[in-house]
Subunit: 378 residues, 2 copies
């Protein structure tokens, strides 16, 4: 299994990115990811009760079918808290791309990221769709990966290649983070493409497992977005035997896990104002959910995060944050270990010695730069 | 009903404060609050699973009796995460004060605030107890109110006077905040004294109601302390008729509510690095708990707090934080109103138009100074 920190699209996938004018200064703000074959699709969305319009539309489409051929994305506007008009516009976005690709309608998923509560300039998007479609190519992913960013400081891509028998399979992930971003834009989008030939059930199952351990185990500022979306397309173009269970499924799961985890870590590394990358390992919990909750409670504690920024080995704050989780930990059983805080990468170990489950969560520190970024925008 | 922003001890109460040497530079760090008569006592403690030693000791005492005559407090050390030795030392603290006051043991409640995880210098405390007791007086509260502080920037006191029939009743509250404080010291302590003649049941009930609407509705940084304690002593020295229910109970509840809310607001105003005092009113909820949860979710959002600091009227962040609460709000029903952000005092109104319940929570903004305070200590 080989890991590349760049985007290499799997067989049968193309992408493109253009500037449609939502962002100022002709910056790339419209991306398209396309599969030549209908691809089995699995997706996970934010649990925020205020959902962006694109999530409402995608969920409706996904109810009727799990076969899609494209994901169209705009950045610079989240199309969220925009009412029924916003939903209508997200539908138009999808339909205009489907038309240009000569696909049946409802075959194109959409995603948006950017400012909340402003009307999306659908006319600008529609005008640029023909150009977007005409530019589709294997190398187009270089533009697409940048067109989905808001104020991330770098594009987030990872590719994993592995074999099932003699058949080479590729998984390629592209993400935008909740990092270095202007206010209202704390949205995480992640798209993963594979030419694996896999059953719908195995695809759903694998995505569920991987998201739980990657995107759902990271936090920059504890603020849940209205637009978070992870979409996985599998078009089968590798011609490999059908993956469903057993060793081939395990390999696929391992590869997907690598892609998800790597993207998730990049999002944290690009966290707003971050100066430290912090890995928190919780051991000795009764189950994964408990371990994760303890980890996230520590990761979201402003007192812990500022201590990490200040390189202050303040274990009292770790204990207090763990105790505030509501989980019945016992003072006399707790062990805490902190790596050297002088380094950029820090690890924290919390062992509560109750059971055998563990979880790892990732976060960044809280810095004056975070406040500057988020206070001074407008 | 008259409100004074100073401490006027009710009939039969005395206090004192001395420097025992836990804090450097002979700063006041030991306080005693004393009632000449046994006082009915109600108390509320943190729900953090890691409890400071004083809470374990107080809870044990309170199981056996609700009549106490003193509260002894040290600052500069939280005596938390200090194991069975810490608990033993908290017991010694209580007993040494009881001896000096010639009270039966278990009649003195104790409280600690300061750094977590360091042994408490009980010898220094014991050596100073005779001086502490000898200095008890009505005016001693001026020293006591300062001796409970860690790095608060001001002492927090409030007194409410009202009549039941011709009988004057006084309630006096003294608190220390989670504000302007060095790492590990995010502890809130609050002591309220009254000469009201009230039944134990009415006392408990009133404290429960008031804490719910005051101390439990404030947040500075979302970090729950291991030491939070609110203790209310009622010694009956006013000679008023016994308060249990009806109009006299309503008056007492109103007075206690004023004291609690005023202290809670002062704690927020003295929040670490705070430049804004923010009142969040949530309306149209199905019940108080739901309204409060929505309010606290907004109050604890770093994105919201930095927007307030930046005077950035960013309602998208309020919506996103409300949606992340897990409460099923509906986009089309939501109304948000923000007062002018140029002022020091800001109010936010969120109406979710579902039911008839409301709640008000108080918080401060998140500023570079907060990070400076919490990162640079050590």
């Amino acid at each position: 299994m080989k890991v590349y920190k760049k985007a290499i699209l799997p067989k049968g996938f193309k992408a493109s990115g253009v500037a449609c004018g939502i962002k100022k200064g002709r910056k790339l703000d419209l991306a398209l990811f396309y599969s030549e074959l209908p691809a089995k699709t699995a997706a996970k969305f934010t649990t925020n009760k205020i959902e962006a319009a694109h999530i409402k539309v995608d969920k409706r489409y996904l109810k009727h079918s799990k076969l899609f051929q494209a994901i169209a994305v705009n950045s610079g506007n989240a199309n969220c808290f925009t009412g029924s008009k916003g939903e209508q516009v997200a539908g138009e976005f999808s339909k205009s791309v489907a038309r240009a690709l000569q696909l049946n309608k409802n075959k194109v998923l959409v995603a948006s990221t950017g400012i909340i509560g402003k009307p999306l300039a659908i006319d600008k998007i529609k005008k640029s769709v023909p150009e977007l479609v005409s530019k589709l190519s294997g190398k187009g992913v270089e533009k697409a990966k940048n067109a989905i960013l808001t104020t991330d400081s770098f594009a987030k891509t990872v590719t994993v290649k592995f074999n099932i028998g003699n058949q080479a399979i590729t998984l390629c992930g592209v993400a935008k983070g909740a990092g270095m971003i202007a206010p209202d834009m704390a949205t995480m989008l992640s798209f993963i493409f594979t030419d694996a030939n896999i059953t719908q059930g195995a695809l759903n199952k694998a995505l569920g497992i991987c998201v739980k351990q990657s995107f759902n185990c990271i936090t920059v500022d504890g603020c849940m977005s209205t637009n978070d979306s992870v979409i996985l397309l599998a078009n089968g173009a590798s011609g490999s035997k059908l993956i469903n269970s057993g060793k081939s499924y395990d390999l696929f799961l391992e590869a997907l896990n690598k892609v998800s985890l790597e993207l998730a870590k990049m999002i944290v590394k690009d966290g707003e104002g971050a100066s430290k990358f912090i890995e928190i390992n919780v051991k000795g919990a009764n189950n994964f959910a408990q371990a994760k909750r303890l980890g996230l409670n520590i990761a979201n504690s402003n007192l812990f995060k500022t201590a990490m920024f200040g390189e202050n080995p303040n274990f009292g704050r770790i204990i207090a944050a763990a105790g505030a989780s509501g989980i019945g930990i016992k003072e006399k059983n707790i062990r805490v270990k902190l790596s050297s805080l002088k380094k950029k990468d820090i690890s924290v170990l919390l062992d509560i010695k109750q059971g055998k489950s563990s979880a790892t969560v990732f976060t960044s520190d809280l810095t004056p730069k975070y406040i500057k970024i988020n206070a001074e925008y407008n």
